[in-house]
């Protein structure tokens, strides 16, 4: 018997016991109709070859292990960034169970969201009644200040008209007529979660600025000196938004964070469950029209939102998830240029400290090859940082990256001698990445949790940066933006490099001459 009460063995150890090993071997030999191990080995080797890579890249319709999710996830992510706002997804309910689980698994936090629970009858007759009842129930139970509506693919395929439905619901008394119910159509078969973020955010801003779906006059812009800031879909939102607020405060800039979800994904454990916490106030969301400019940290998360804001008379500027020295320089100088505020000494010192840290450590990173995958902006930001560390971001892959993103990435590579042999792969998935790692190996891989399968199969050490990170805890609390964020990313990369060095030199009497105490 393997198990014992004194030292309880869980799955890590239990199944390695001889009884279980024998049992599993019998199962395989007798009942699974398993392939000949030699054949499995042959195919495994074949799947590493350039020939397999060619077949793999010739795929036209099959997607395997994609690094993207669907629009409504992004809509929920943006919506909870507003004060006491309940995201309401119009469509089938299972989707909402998935969004809530997905976000909770990453942040280790509750995620509140409701759906209109559409079923077969709604598929035939439309989901109007679900909307009428649903809004009334949510409003009464969860006492939100705003309900932000988005859709699933089901509601989109049957063509439900949110604008008309919300209007009718209000006429039927589901919610008071002046209650804020912004909406966005977010079909899952268009774009990805970053598109959904963009659509939902635009829907909310449009609601406040353009007369609340025809129920009030449009707002007149009366320019002030404030700056609007949009973070975009970001797995580090808790650490990042707080870092950005700190930077704004150091610079003395008056700001509004649009969709500030940093607090709702980080409520304290003190005996009380806060369904809503923090968030952009509805008043601030409306007043954001008067701001001098809007800064988006992620271009591909705000492709529709920024032009909308610009059309209301503001300057707009978009970054690509800036990480590291130059990208942060650029961000701060842009803020300074727009606001006329100087970059304070404190930030300059932080910059110097990051440069100092990079100078101390870049020898360990210089010349190393990296593969990166994730959302288009994140990939761009990380690749830029690697280039300034003298590393080569050899394969940069974004399942939700577009042709335009590819061109922008290639231009970034062209700007540096370290980008010479680097390539961007838009619209590709992690099974493509697997072929790339086998046929053109790199030293390290950067991406989300799903990269652990690539690490196992190809032996490329994984540095976890991205969304989702399910299998490591609390990374989202540490910023990756700003000089301090750059420091976090640097340390994360270095730690992995040093761990690998130790792992590769720890055999006593064989490789331990390089098992150094000082590095």
């Amino acid at each position: 018997m393997t198990q014992n009460a004194e030292n309880v063995l869980d799955h890590f150890e239990l199944f390695r016991g001889p009884e279980y090993q024998q049992m599993l071997a019998n199962k395989r030999a007798l009942f699974e109709n398993a392939h000949d191990p030699a054949e499995v080995e042959r195919i495994r080797e074949w799947a590493k070859t350039p020939e397999y890579r060619e077949k793999n890249f010739a795929r036209e319709e099959l997607t395997i292990n994609p690094a993207k999710a669907c629009q409504p996830l992004g809509a929920v992510f943006a919506s909870v960034g507003f004060e006491s706002t309940l995201p309401f997804v119009h469509g089938s309910q299972g989707c909402v169970a998935y969004y809530r689980s997905h976000l909770s698994r990453h942040f280790k936090e509750p995620t509140s969201c409701v759906s209109s629970s559409m079923t077969e009858d709604a598929a035939v007759f439309g989901g109007l009644n679900n909307m009428i009842d649903g809004l009334a129930n949510s409003y009464n139970m969860y006492k939100p200040k705003m309900i932000a509506v988005s859709t699933t693919c089901m509601a989109e395929v049957i063509g439900d008209d949110l604008n008309a439905f919300i209007k009718t619901s209000k006429e039927k008394g589901s919610v008071p007529s002046e209650f804020d119910v912004p909406f966005a159509h977010t079909p899952a078969f268009v774009g990805s979660h970053v598109t959904g973020y963009d659509n939902a955010l635009k829907g909310i801003i449009e609601h406040f600025w353009d007369g609340k779906a025809g129920s009030e006059p449009k707002l007149e812009r009366q320019p002030n000196e404030k700056i609007n800031f949009i973070g975009g879909f970001d797995g580090y939102t808790v650490g990042n938004i707080r870092e950005i607020k700190r930077i704004f405060e150091l610079m003395g800039i008056e700001y509004t964070i649009l969709a500030d979800n940093s607090d709702v994904f980080d409520t304290p454990t003190d005996g009380e469950f806060r369904m809503y916490d923090g968030g952009t106030t509805l008043k601030d969301a409306a007043n954001a029209i008067h701001a001098k400019a809007t800064v988006s940290m992620q271009q591909y998360c705000t492709e529709k939102t920024l032009p909308f804001i610009e059309s209301h008379g503001q300057q707009v500027v978009a970054f690509n998830h800036p990480v590291g020295v130059s990208a942060t320089d650029d961000f701060l100088m842009t803020l300074s240029r727009i606001t006329g505020k100087a970059i304070p000494k404190g930030l300059e010192q932080e910059r110097g400290r990051l440069v100092d840290a990079m100078a101390d450590s870049s020898a360990h990173i210089h010349g190393k090859k990296f593969a990166i995958y994730g959302d288009p902006d994140l990939c761009y930001g990380l690749a830029g940082f690697l280039l300034e560390l003298g590393a080569e971001p050899t394969h940069v892959l974004s399942t939700n990256g577009t042709k335009a993103w590819e061109e922008k990435m290639q231009a970034l590579f062209a700007s540096s001698q370290f980008g010479k042999d680097c390539h961007a792969y838009p619209g590709r998935d992690l099974w493509h990445m697997r072929s790339l790692l086998f046929t053109e190996p790199v030293d390290f891989l950067i991406g989300n949790t799903y990269g652990k399968y690539l690490e196992r199969d190809t032996g490329t050490p994984l540095i976890r940066i991205g969304f989702p990170v399910f299998d490591r805890h609390h990374h989202h609390r540490y910023p990756v933006w700003g000089y301090q964020g750059g420091m976090n990313v640097l340390v994360k990369i270095l730690d992995r490099i040093f761990e690998e060095m130790d792992k590769n030199t720890n055999v006593v009497g064989k490789t331990d001459y390089s098992f150094d105490i000082i590095r």
């Binding site: 009460a5 199944f15 409504p72 089938s92 998935y98 280790k108 409701v114 629970s117 079923t119 598929a123």
Partner: protein
């Protein structure tokens, strides 16, 4: 110790009834009327728990339920490891259900095994407009090309497939023929069908019947010689290795497990199941349909079992053995005595730390009732329970074999109701899912995920019970729960706090 255990049954009943009245007050009248049917206080001797179930969730409430796709792909088909399961439709469903159920398996992933991969046809707008059948044809061709060792393919339909009228059955038939009779299974598990994941289980079972059983080839028939002791494990998903810690007991008592559904399952095992002498069914909810079918068509009896906690394990081993001869009956007794010292040691160690603690559960499938015995083995009491997607027969089984008089019952509980119930009852532990976990932990209530075993496990079988006991102790007696309230909040003299 919680309030629950210091009160008489009459007091508990009165309190629970009042609680139900209180939560119903928040709803609009129509909703309150509907929700009232799903909430009740169990009366001893009643044949069921007195709640309506398997009805549509109400729009706009935070239901914990999933959808038919989750029931089919996530539960029944997904863990069949040597087949490739296509999430057919937009990218999201496959992404969110990717690797999240911990159905452990052994195999070379990406080569002969595919359990922790996500295959999708990643629908774009044009596929909605023009239909996805041609795309599906190509997807299957590409799978065949890149994964020659896959034993079969299933097509798990997401919402748009049914709405745009794709003929996935025709595609499956044509491609199967083209690939020499390869098993290709279309599953109509669109998420809008039915009221929860439960219909997905049923649809998935029907697909096994129609597209696996009805097409078994002579070659598959001949794969092994039968014995009188052949059984199949049905409805164990091998979460954290559950099916393995169950299988080992059955084999030790002299039975031969010829198939495992679904965790660590293979197509060959599905095909072999009609040769079993007995189907033993763990998750009744998800797999009773196919078990009933095998009983009718192949004359295979089935019996339910419960491998949570020693009391129920003993009961179940004897129940299973009763279908066989003395050799197996003796085998069952041998297994029971072999593990009794381990169980005694586990209970001696953990029961003193857990005695009298109260638990509220809300899970899917079988767990709202099956785990009650395991808690009771540790001296704990389940004061509230309910099913995400149970049917009336689940509540009958619960009432007749598991719950005590006065237990609060909540079917398809809404987030709002569950929070109020826990707030008022103050149990020592809540057992539910990831969506509930952090809500209750914020409230300072210890919690265990009872879908995923909170990334621990196995919990089934004797080996699993030791882990179960350890985990419950760890959750309830973690020192962190003494720190949720800042000490200055209870200080006799006010401590100065900085102004906000």
């Amino acid at each position: 110790m919680s309030l629950a255990s210091t009160q008489s049954v009459a007091e508990i009943k009165a309190r629970n009834k009042q609680l139900i009245d209180e939560v119903l007050k928040v709803y609009p009248e129509k909703t309150a009327k509907r929700r009232a049917k799903h909430l009740n206080v169990h009366e001893v001797g009643k044949s069921d728990c007195g709640v309506k179930s398997n009805l549509k969730s109400i729009p706009g409430v935070m239901t914990i339920r999933g959808c038919a796709y989750a029931g089919s792909k996530g539960v029944v088909w997904g863990p069949i490891k040597d087949m490739i399961h296509i999430s057919h439709g937009p990218v999201g469903c496959g992404q969110y259900s990717w690797g999240s159920r911990r159905n452990y398996y052994v195999g070379t992933t990406g080569i002969d095994t595919f359990g922790t991969m996500q295959f999708t046809s990643d629908f774009q707008e044009k596929d909605i407009v023009f239909g996805g059948d041609k795309k599906l044809v190509k997807v299957i061709d590409e799978i065949q090309d890149l994964f020659p060792l896959s034993r079969g393919i299933t097509i798990q339909s997401e919402c748009p497939i049914g709405l745009i009228g794709d003929d996935i059955e025709a595609v499956s038939r044509a491609k199967s023929k083209e690939y020499g009779g390869k098993t290709i299974v279309p599953v109509r598990c669109e998420g809008f069908r039915g009221v929860s994941q439960s219909l997905g289980h049923h649809i998935a079972n029907d697909a096994v019947r129609d597209w696996v059983f009805d097409k078994i080839t002579p070659e598959a028939e001949r794969r092994f010689e039968s014995t009188p002791y052949d059984v199949a494990i049905i409805g164990d998903y091998n979460i954290g290795g559950d099916a393995w810690s169950s299988r080992i007991l059955l084999e030790e008592m002299g039975l031969r497990v010829i198939a495992q559904w679904s965790g660590d399952g293979s197509l060959a095992e599905l095909e072999a199941t009609p040769k079993a002498k007995l189907n033993i069914l763990h998750c009744y909810r998800s797999m009773n349909y196919i078990s009933r079918h095998m009983e009718e068509k192949f004359g295979i009896p089935w019996c339910e079992y419960n491998f949570f906690g020693p009391s129920k394990i003993v009961e179940s081993l004897r129940k299973i053995a009763a279908f066989f001869d003395d050799k197996i009956k003796e085998g069952a007794e041998r297994v029971i005595s072999k593990y009794q010292p381990l169980m005694d040691a586990v209970i001696a160690k953990y029961r003193p730390r857990l005695e009298g603690k109260s638990v509220m559960l809300f899970v899917g499938g079988l767990r709202p009732r099956h785990v009650i015995g395991a808690y009771e083995d540790l001296g704990m009491v389940v004061v509230g329970t309910g099913y995400e997607f149970g049917h009336n027969d689940d509540y009958q089984r619960t009432a007749q074999h598991y719950v005590k008089d006065g237990t609060l019952i909540y079917d398809d509980v809404t987030g709002y109701e569950f929070e109020r119930f826990v707030e008022k009852i103050q149990p020592d532990l809540v057992g539910s899912g990831i969506k509930e976990k952090y809500v209750f932990q914020k409230m300072g209530v210890p919690f265990r995920q009872m879908h995923s075993w909170d990334y621990s496990g196995p919990y089934h079988g004797y080996d699993g019970f030791a882990i179960f006991a350890r985990d419950m102790d760890m959750a309830i007696n973690s020192p962190i729960w003494k720190k949720t309230r800042a000490p200055w909040k209870d200080a006799p003299r006010p401590t100065l706090m900085a102004a906000e």
